[in-house]
Point group: C2
Chain length 205, copies 2
Amino acid sequence: MANLKSKDVVWHPGAVTKADREAVSGHKACTIWMTGLPASGKSTLAVALEKVLWDRGMHAYVLDGDNIRHGLNKDLGFSPEDRNENIRRIGEVAKLFTTAGVINATAFISPYRSDRDQARRIMGDGEFIEVYVDCSVNECERRDPKGHYKKARAGEIKEFTGVSAPYEPPLHPEIVVHTDRETEAESLQKILSYLEANGYIQRVG
Amino acid sequence: MANLKSKDVVWHPGAVTKADREAVSGHKACTIWMTGLPASGKSTLAVALEKVLWDRGMHAYVLDGDNIRHGLNKDLGFSPEDRNENIRRIGEVAKLFTTAGVINATAFISPYRSDRDQARRIMGDGEFIEVYVDCSVNECERRDPKGHYKKARAGEIKEFTGVSAPYEPPLHPEIVVHTDRETEAESLQKILSYLEANGYIQRVG
């Protein structure tokens, strides 16, 4: 490099903390952990939430099957052990995003209570917000946008949550949305209201 | 929830793209991949870079041993296979942060060329900036802040890069810094100059 300008560089040692980031961004960082049956509406809700928060000037990001299952966790299948490891890694990545000052929404079935509780435990107080995306299996199966329920009933997909693999609903989720009897806007507003009421984000208007 | 305000919610469907994020933040998102021997100065440089960028209003974040080895990759050791998987996962996480609009700096030995090239391949054009943190093994060993070289020489740590495990220097890194004969400020300025000259960040002043 011919153009060294070391005299221009001024910095103070030490990492940028989460609190530093929150002070500047004006919102808290947290993980909004959506859990629910396949086709219950987790990803749709997560993407809508990301957009609303981002439109309001916040740092928001979605972790979901599209960007995790084909990348970080492409070595994992759907056995109970692999599901554990899938959720363990997602929890760790969500923690990194939270540390980085981002409101991140995760949209994974995450069927086991113990896996979700582990993700909660590795985060700080108030950093983990569990959203139970409650939708009857009948309604999920009626929607079946990817045809997975149909294949699971036909035995073509093994260990399919809600059909041939268990789903353990949260016992004490911070938020419950009922996507089989609320509009998407209503479910989304529940989450925003929670974030506002608990000081994660600023109230609008 | 008693206070549904669905009428207040307005959003447009569709995820927030990297380009959307860059347009608002005023800087490009990328992964600045530091590679080099143990104690060559990768983490110090990454943390300093994060701070400078953040002080200039950018989204910056460091992935390093402190937040990865004790979390996401705590199940991995230092065998060649585990080093592969370690770097594979870090590359995937770095890609997520890049997609999220963040300039993220990774500070890992990442001794194998093929592993680094794999991380480069999963990212888009220009998203992966390899920084070879070049420092003679003698100087690294002289520093030895954690006493690891001493233990490796004594055989107490096996497969230690630079002593008993190989390090493959990059063939065509975007940036080379020589931490054994530059000040930290000079090395940092090289990286900033590269980012400015190539339009990742705006020039100051």
